[in-house]
Symmetry: C2
């Protein structure tokens, strides 16, 4: 780490945002997670709800299992063959704030004139749920202008660009 390093001189190859996007940067990954958070976890139900072909969905779910976001579990209803459902892992569940932040922004800027299609409410009190920027001292932040960035422990200088 080089404490005074400017972001423009920093090697971005280990950026956590970029690495997160390598895993969840395909829109369908977040849409499958959305379904899982909303209780749609069985292959047939996901396939039916998302309207994607079985082979495409199978390949996508396999990637998400490989990335540690979902776990495949067998289930069998009376008199039927074994089928598969996909449970969220802890790692997958921890993406809930990403989905909530996307929902919040979509609700604000892209919803139909009547309002949002889905409301998320606190189970305890019924109030609307959203994400809030906070700091570890418990302060609420208004936005990015309240944030200062500095190089972290794995910051590296980048190689000069080849021109």
């Amino acid at each position: 780490m080089i404490p005074g390093m400017e972001y423009r001189d920093q090697d971005v190859s280990n950026c956590s945002i970029a690495r997160a996007l390598e895993i969840v940067g395909q829109p369908w990954v977040l849409l499958v997670l959305r379904e899982a958070f909303r209780g749609i976890r069985r292959f047939d139900e996901i396939q039916d709800h998302l309207g994607v072909s079985r082979s495409v969905l199978a390949a996508r779910l396999e990637k998400m299992v490989g990335a540690g976001l979902l776990e495949r579990q067998a289930y069998r209803e009376q008199g039927q063959r074994t089928r598969w459902e996909y449970q969220l892992t802890d790692k997958g569940r921890e993406l809930y704030p990403v989905l909530t932040a996307l929902r919040q922004w979509g609700d604000a800027h892209l919803a139909d004139p009547e309002g949002p299609p889905v409301l998320a409410e606190h189970a305890d009190c019924g109030a609307h749920v959203r994400v809030q920027l906070v700091c570890d001292h418990g302060h609420a932040l208004d936005g990015d202008r309240d944030v200062i960035r500095r190089p972290g422990p794995s910051a590296r200088l980048r190689q000069p660009a080849r021109h």
Copy 2:
């Protein structure tokens, strides 16, 4: 709106998450926004830092301007020709929680062993910045298990799947 409608019966074509992903679901969109939040807003700097070709970057920035995330502004340094920089709009700025949520998840699951490459700190107190699930009554939520969803004002029944 149909209050008792189950999510599995809901038409997802107006989902705010899906609509948000139509705009920001390409990883490069969020990476360009990352650069803008970190002060890298001039075409040449973005191009140099992201290592993308000029023509590709120009097309991408044009899309982001068209989507209302960035505004193009001319600048000119002494003795040079006019160049372009890209300022975040309010709509673009409101995506900061999405990036913070992605950073947080990436820092937790994908960082190098030494730790995160970039630290985000509250300008006022220096404490680490993150997103927190909260409700409008001011409660902090642990995660998705504290959330109940119900159909919102623009919820519509979906058409039965064609089998």
